[in-house]
């Protein structure tokens, strides 16, 4: 695939006129997707995608396109030659772009992790076997993902990674379920079996009569998967330079009112984790990390190439949305979180968050899957789904009691457009109060 991308790129560079520059990106995958319900296959298939993106530049004028490749070099080149012609015609009608910004220094990189992790047919058989009588529902995705970059100045970048992501839940009844995920680069049947055993234990607790929790404020422990939903909401326009300069960031009170989070909150975009490509679609190489929040204070923004040009800054991201967040660990022992909680809610998953008041970074959302009522450090009963409505300045600020010393690496299972390569590494957190409203 890498050779095909480079040879296609070289052929396209030969078709450039005069002072034209061409930036070429590539993203693709060969993936299997097996959707399951009731521990049986509901929908299974294989998907091959190869998308080439072009940015045809002359001076400060440019136009962009993306084209799905066929895989036959003659047919692809014919098609792409037509695309270049169309881009030239469009470019002539467009004004100069003052924020056009691309790397003019050569930064070649190459990363390969291409060996098949496990055959998908074998994995599904193991899943069904491990699931046994469980009412299992979810998605197993497996295969190789490709990203590439080449420009007419001679830069070449490649990143390919074979990996799997099994995201599933097991249901007891109606909305009583335990959620789990097993993802990575090294499939081990015994790890899957251990996760299934853990689910069975939690399901036995879910079988107890539910405790009715009234809308009010409760002391709560939020597991890393629940924390990931809160951080994901903050990330929705929260960290980008454009959103800061246009005052649309949900963290505006940190900018305009010098509001801060608890000193234990340090958050960075950790590009060096290496799950996503280190290069951008404009040829820049991302720094190892970008410190977004340090000791509760806002520090730096994610800066796309366009924003770097517009605001005279330095590119440090492809897009102004994080893909490798890293929240610093705290000092709570993960083994003792329920003892530290004492009495309150143990929330393993949150879901469908959105803003009640973006200016206040106040968000609402639902509890989901296995959430429990805890008394004197012992799980007493499951709780039905509840709506919360609370501010980040409470949850990560005045009401934060501590973060766990152990963190969890969460590999994003989303597959919109293509399989995600985003990730987060997060601790759990203990809060004095989480406000439930419905």
């Amino acid at each position: 695939m890498q050779d095909y991308f480079y040879s296609l790129s070289d052929a396209l560079f030969k078709k450039l006129d005069g002072d034209e520059q061409l930036l070429i990106g590539f993203s693709g995958e060969d993936s299997d997707f097996v959707r399951m319900n009731h521990n049986r296959i509901r929908q299974a298939g294989s998907v091959a995608q190869r998308t080439l993106s072009l940015d045809l530049i002359e001076g400060q004028r440019h136009a962009q396109a993306s084209v799905e490749l066929v895989g036959d070099s003659n047919q692809d080149l014919d098609n792409l030659a037509g695309t270049l012609k169309n881009l030239r015609e469009q470019r002539a009608l467009l004004p100069e772009d003052p924020y056009l910004n691309f790397s003019s220094t050569i930064n070649d990189t190459e990363y390969h992790h291409d060996n098949e992790v496990i055959g998908s047919h074998d994995a599904v058989e193991q899943i069904v076997q491990a699931g046994g009588d469980l009412d299992l529902v979810g998605i197993f995705a497996n295969g190789i993902q490709y990203n590439g970059f080449a420009n007419s100045m001679g830069q070449r970048n490649w990143h390919s990674s074979a990996n799997f992501n099994f995201d599933w839940s097991c249901y007891l009844a109606t909305d009583k379920a335990v959620k789990s995920n097993y993802a990575g680069f090294d499939w081990q049947q015994d790890k899957l079996a251990a996760k299934m055993e853990s689910i069975k234990h939690q399901l036995s607790i879910l079988a107890r009569p539910s405790k009715n929790v009234e809308p009010a404020g409760y002391r709560a422990y939020l597991a890393p998967s629940a924390v990931s939903e809160i951080i994901r909401m903050m990330a929705w326009g929260g960290f980008g330079m454009k959103s800061h300069r246009t005052k649309t960031t949900s963290l505006i009170r940190m900018l305009e009112q010098e509001q801060s989070l608890d000193k234990s909150i340090s958050l960075r975009e950790y590009h060096a984790r290496g799950l996503a490509p280190i290069f951008t679609g404009s040829g820049f190489i991302k720094p190892d990390h970008v410190q977004l929040i340090r000791n509760g204070q806002y520090v730096d923004c994610l800066v796309s190439p366009r924003s770097a040009k517009e605001y005279d800054s330095v590119t440090n991201a492809d897009y102004e949305y994080p893909g490798a967040l890293d929240l610093a660990a705290g000092h709570l022992s993960s083994e003792n979180t329920l003892k530290e909680l004492d009495t309150g809610l143990c929330i393993n998953n949150l879901w469908y968050l959105n803003y009640s008041d973006r200016n206040a970074c106040q968000m609402t959302g639902m509890t989901r899957f296995a959430c429990f009522w805890v008394e004197q450090g012992e799980i007493q009963a499951p709780v039905d789904v509840m709506r919360f409505d609370d501010s980040i300045y409470n949850l990560l600020g005045s009401n934060l009691l501590g973060l766990t010393e152990e963190r969890e690496l969460i590999l994003d299972s989303s597959t919109y457009g293509q399989r995600s390569n985003s990730s987060m590494e997060l601790p759990g957190l203990l809060v004095e109060e989480l406000r439930l409203t419905l």
Binding site: V34, R35, N37, H38, R40, R42, Q43, A44, G45, S46, V47, A48, Q49, H62, A63, Q64, A65, S66, V67, E68, V70, G71, D72, T83, Q90, L93, L94, P95, D97, P98, Y99, V124, V128, V137, I139, D167, W168, K247, T248, Q257, W351, Y352, N354, Y355, S356, D357, N359, A360, T364, M366, R368, V385, R387, D389, S391, S414, Y416, G417, T437, L438
Partner: protein, 481 residues
């Protein structure tokens, strides 16, 4: 309609695998977007893709393969992959042989277009967007503003082993305007001009969506919201404009009635439903005034088509009539799994994802009330416009919505603007408090362009048309202190 796709279809028939049944959906997608933000032209973006989704059934199993290699070699390879999965799912699968549809329909459909996208040259589109930008930037407190035009054309050829041959061509148009006002730590946002109103058709739809005509009034409202009072709090009446009804319909009627959710397919991701199969035919979903249809026949609406992506012919059906739940939103496969009636709503978001139950066009039918009479009947309440926040539980019951703009209603009259209007409730009771349904004059054809669902995930266009509606006893509140 599309010679190339028809040629590929004919070639495939000659090499089709020897399986119980197969369907092949060939797609050619093109799109173009043009936008101007803060007076600066953003990069023009074009997209072009062709691909095939082949589904085969063997015994009790089914499998699919998606490829952009439409050569005989590429399609043979896809057939091998799909057949391997079909054989595996024949042993480990959930469905039975009878559950897989074997469509045989033949037909053609194309979105009616009066003014084609390419009839307006690119530089004139840019000039239109620059004019809109100038109309949006009315005040120093407007800190961000943009105007956008998007176009898409999808050609689809669908064939099957049972003899189906369906050709459809869809033209989509998506305009949008936005204005952001700021003062200190207070930022307010207004969107419109089609922002939640992508449609099928051509450039003739722009004026109908008030694009770019809405620009200055949107900017004025964004500025005015900076100094508006917070939305009042309490149990009161609300009047929802179509631009908010869109999300109310989508989340608390559309999703819970999708049959694949009721069957549990979505429990790990998009969720389940508080609705069960036994409720259809008798359950009171809303007041007598609530009439909801699946309507694929409004040509300008986003999800109008003649056939869905399982090859089922589409026709209008009542989903809820006079408040009583009648039928679910389930395509041919879901109908076979449940022996229930449904609608033609098995849809693919893109060429490489398999069809699942989606909403398509789901509309609240107009009633007889004039909006001014609704307002006149309310002693204390809030009028809300344009969704900006949405959240609902996994069984689609406990919801919370926020809107861009509110207006207080007092003693039968609309009063001043209020900012950060929010309300929350429970689907199962909310629709029973529907007190009045607006007439045709308040009816608007809008939609949602990013409905997410499915594993693997699919983001798809759905259409929602609605009049203005009045609800009683709603829990309303504003922003944080």
């Amino acid at each position: 309609m599309n010679d190339y796709l028809n040629q590929v279809a004919q070639q495939f028939i000659s090499i089709a695998p020897a399986v119980n049944s197969w369907t092949l959906r060939l797609t050619s997608e093109t799109s173009e977007t043009v936008s101007v933000r803060q007076g600066v032209m953003q990069p023009v973006y074009n997209h072009q893709a062709s691909g095939a989704l082949l589904i085969v059934a063997i015994g009790n199993g089914s499998g699919y393969a998606a490829t952009s290699d439409l050569s005989p070699v590429g399609l043979k390879h896809a057939a091998r992959l799909a057949s391997d999965w079909a054989r595996r799912s024949s042993v480990l699968g959930l469905l039975k042989a009878d559950d897989y549809p074997q469509p045989a329909g033949q037909g053609r459909y194309e979105t009616p277009v009066k003014q084609r996208w390419h009839a307006l040259p690119l530089d004139e589109k840019v000039a239109l967007l620059q004019d809109a930008n100038r109309a949006l930037k009315i005040h120093d407190s407007i800190v961000d503003w943009s105007a956008y035009l998007g176009y898409g054309c999808d050609d689809v050829v669908f064939i099957s082993s049972a003899g189906a041959h369906i050709e459809q061509r869809f033209h989509y148009i998506q305009p949008a305007l936005s204005a952001v006002a700021n003062q200190g730590s207070q930022t307010q946002y207004r969107s419109g001009g089609g922002h939640n109103g992508a449609r099928q058709g051509g450039l003739e739809q722009l004026a109908l969506l008030n694009f770019p005509g809405a620009a200055t009034s949107l900017a004025e409202e964004a500025v005015a919201l900076l100094s508006a009072d917070e939305c009042p709090q309490g149990i009161m009446d609300v009047v929802l404009a179509p631009s908010q009804m869109v999300l109310q319909i989508h989340e608390s009627i559309g999703h819970p009635l999708e049959l694949d959710r009721i069957l549990g397919d979505e429990r790990n991701y998009a969720g389940t439903s508080f609705v069960t199969q036994d409720m259809f035919g008798s359950y009171r979903y809303g007041s007598d005034l609530l009439n909801v249809t699946y309507d694929p026949g409004r040509p300008e609406q986003l999800a109008s088509f003649a056939y869905d992506d399982e090859g089922t012919p589409a026709r209008r059906e009542y989903i809820i009539r006079n408040g009583i739940l009648e039928r679910p939103l389930g395509g041919a496969t879901s109908q076979a799994r449940t022996s229930m009636p449904g609608v033609a709503n098995a849809r693919q978001a893109v060429w490489y994802r398999p069809p699942i139950d989606r909403m398509a066009n789901l509309n609240v039918e107009p009633g007889e009330s004039r909006p001014e009479d609704m307002i006149a009947s309310i002693e204390h309440g809030v009028y809300m416009e344009t969704n900006r926040s949405w959240s609902i539980d996994d069984s689609r019951n406990k919801f919370q919505f926020g809107c861009e703009l509110g207006r207080v209603i007092k003693n039968g009259e609309l009063k001043g603007l209020v900012r950060n209007p929010n309300y929350r409730g429970i689907s199962a009771t909310f629709w029973r408090n529907l007190a009045a349904v607006g007439n045709e004059q308040s009816f608007d054809v809008l939609g949602v362009s990013n409905c997410g669902k499915g594993e693997p995930n699919q983001s798809i266009y759905v259409g929602h048309a609605s009049p203005t509606c009045h609800f009683r006893n709603v829990d309303v509140f504003g922003g944080a202190a």
